[in-house]
């Protein structure tokens, strides 16, 4: 009869709920009546309910986003929601935004980069990434906000519109999607990738220790169970390798900004050595201006300096590699806060954080535009 028990038989005196396929209705009724079993109809037609629910879900705000104008920027979203947001942004602004797949994660999730371009061929470009450390949720959330902001500036011909006249912007919002999904489903404090290594029970590599700059030196761990495990070799992580390949093949990236949280810092290379970068003075000056711009909005205090002098020694880091590749304007941000909520930054701080950070990013982008090299 293909009866589908929604409330299975438990014993005497307990009701049983059954979903009955249409052809089985008559036989079942006959059987119940013949045995003196009383019944009542709870739902006349399950299919109509299912259809209604489907329609609601498609329409609903609580489901996947339907437009970037109704998208809630002041809340944390799932990976699917963010990927849907990206597609919406592209379809709403096909002349400005395109989506590139630069590779796949360990668990085979696509690694997407949004390209904002007004044309030209291989224009000098600015790269921004967020979410390389999955637990730093305010960064992915800010990345989403940045994407929308770029589009808005373009529409209103203000802000970065002038930068887009000459340069392209690349934005990778979820740089570590495997880790991100893990923070939503299993462990909110997960930082690394989700790669597995033979001979170890522990999972994951710190994607900010996996770059080929001082790789394996002090400031990273060789222990697979450590949060700063550098990986078996440089670029072992597809999340890292795809960016490396992209940067190398593009060949014209002029500024590279990798965003983390928390601590409220603006950092430039190096992390792996105390030797100052040749452009130290200039990078320090830019940082000073960028931080001033950031603070001007809500009074948020940032410190700045090289990674090794401001935070701690870290080897195999992203911007050390990008700098050594010749990308002079390489910076890392550590966004809000300074430890009170840490990684668990309340959602109501997402937009203020993104807004203030954007001011600093604009300083860096403007400087890059004004100082071609």
């Amino acid at each position: 009869l293909q009866l589908d028990f929604w409330l299975a038989p438990r014993g005497l005196g307990h009701p049983v709920d059954i979903r009955v396929p249409f052809p089985s209705l008559q036989p079942l009724k006959a059987h119940l009546e013949a045995n003196g079993i009383s019944y009542s109809i709870m739902i006349e037609d399950v299919q109509t309910l299912v259809d209604d629910e489907q329609m609601e879900m498609l329409r609903s705000r609580r489901g996947l986003p339907v437009s970037t104008n109704t998208f809630d920027y002041a809340t944390y979203h799932s990976l699917d929601e963010i990927y849907t947001f990206m597609d919406l942004l592209v379809s709403e602004n096909p002349n400005l935004v395109s989506k590139l797949e630069i590779g796949r994660s360990t668990e085979n999730r696509p690694l997407y980069v949004l390209k904002f371009s007004k044309g030209g061929t291989n224009r000098p470009a600015i790269w921004i990434d967020t979410g390389i450390h999955s637990r730093e949720w305010v960064t992915q959330a800010s990345g989403v906000w940045f994407a929308k902001k770029i589009v808005q500036d373009h529409e209103n011909n203000e802000g970065v519109a002038s930068i887009l006249d000459k340069m392209d912007i690349f934005l990778e919002i979820v740089t570590n999607p495997d880790g991100f999904v893990f923070t939503q489903t299993q462990n909110r404090m997960w930082r690394k990738t989700r790669s597995r290594h033979s001979g170890s029970v522990c999972v994951g590599v710190d994607p900010n220790r996996n770059w080929d700059a001082g790789f394996g030196g002090p400031g990273a761990s060789g222990n697979t169970c450590s949060e700063t495990y550098h990986g078996p070799y440089a670029n072992s992580e597809p999340e890292v390798k795809s960016i490396v390949d992209f940067v190398k093949s593009h060949g014209n990236i002029k500024a590279f900004i990798s965003i983390h949280s928390y601590s409220q810092l603006l950092l430039y290379p190096y992390g792996y050595t105390t030797t100052p970068v040749p452009d130290q003075k200039e990078l320090h000056e830019i940082s000073k201006k960028a931080v001033a711009a950031l603070s001007s909005l809500y009074g948020t205090n940032y410190k700045y300096g090289s990674i090794i002098t401001t935070i701690y020694q870290a080897s195999g880091g992203t911007i050390d590699w990008t700098y050594n590749q010749g990308i002079k304007y390489s910076f890392t941000f550590e966004l809000r806060d300074t430890g009170r909520y840490g990684f668990l930054l309340p959602a109501k701080q997402i937009v203020p954080t993104a807004q203030e950070t954007w001011l600093a990013l604009k300083v860096i982008m403007q400087h890059t535009l004004d100082h071609p090299y």
């Binding site: 949720w137 909110r188 668990l344």
Partner: protein, 197 residues
Amino acid sequence: IPDSGHKYYLQFTTEDYKSGENAGSCLATVLYPKTKSPPVVTIKCMHTKDQKQIEEEDNRLYQKIRHQTKPIIGNNIPDSYGNIEPALEPVWALAVAGSSYIMWEKSAENLGYFMAQVKSVKQWIRKDDFTEFDYTVLLHEIPTQEIVSCHMRLTWLPGHPLKVKYFCASDNQGLEDGSGMESGSAAGVLNERGANF
């Protein structure tokens, strides 16, 4: 300091953990001996809040806890999205204060901590006036980036020092005793800001 260790001179301001208001400034020296024994600390602070106000806030916090009809229990404070239920705020505040003792003892010249989250809390009702809580707190360790899980047993009565017993997952020692020497106040927990080395 040659043959002795490293001495740091600090000047910093503090702020109220709850309100963010300025709570005073402090001058301190910290000497990390070469021998790796615990650091020697001298500290002097100027509080902007007066003792009476602190006492009142402590009592309010205490009354809030005492007026619960059932033992307080909670998980994931703040939650993944940074939310703290208003009813659980007092318990979070106590965790911050208690964790600060753990972090004080575990910190070293190149090892620091933040309290990342209260994983769980369970109140033990006592026959006397003291409030008692069993916590699992997660500490974020810098620069290792590790998340250290600590079990903390905390006992408090306003006007008395906070009593903290803890055991952290990475520790090999037995139950550590982190009891405070001076009167602990959980309402206006000091948070360091702007340390100058």
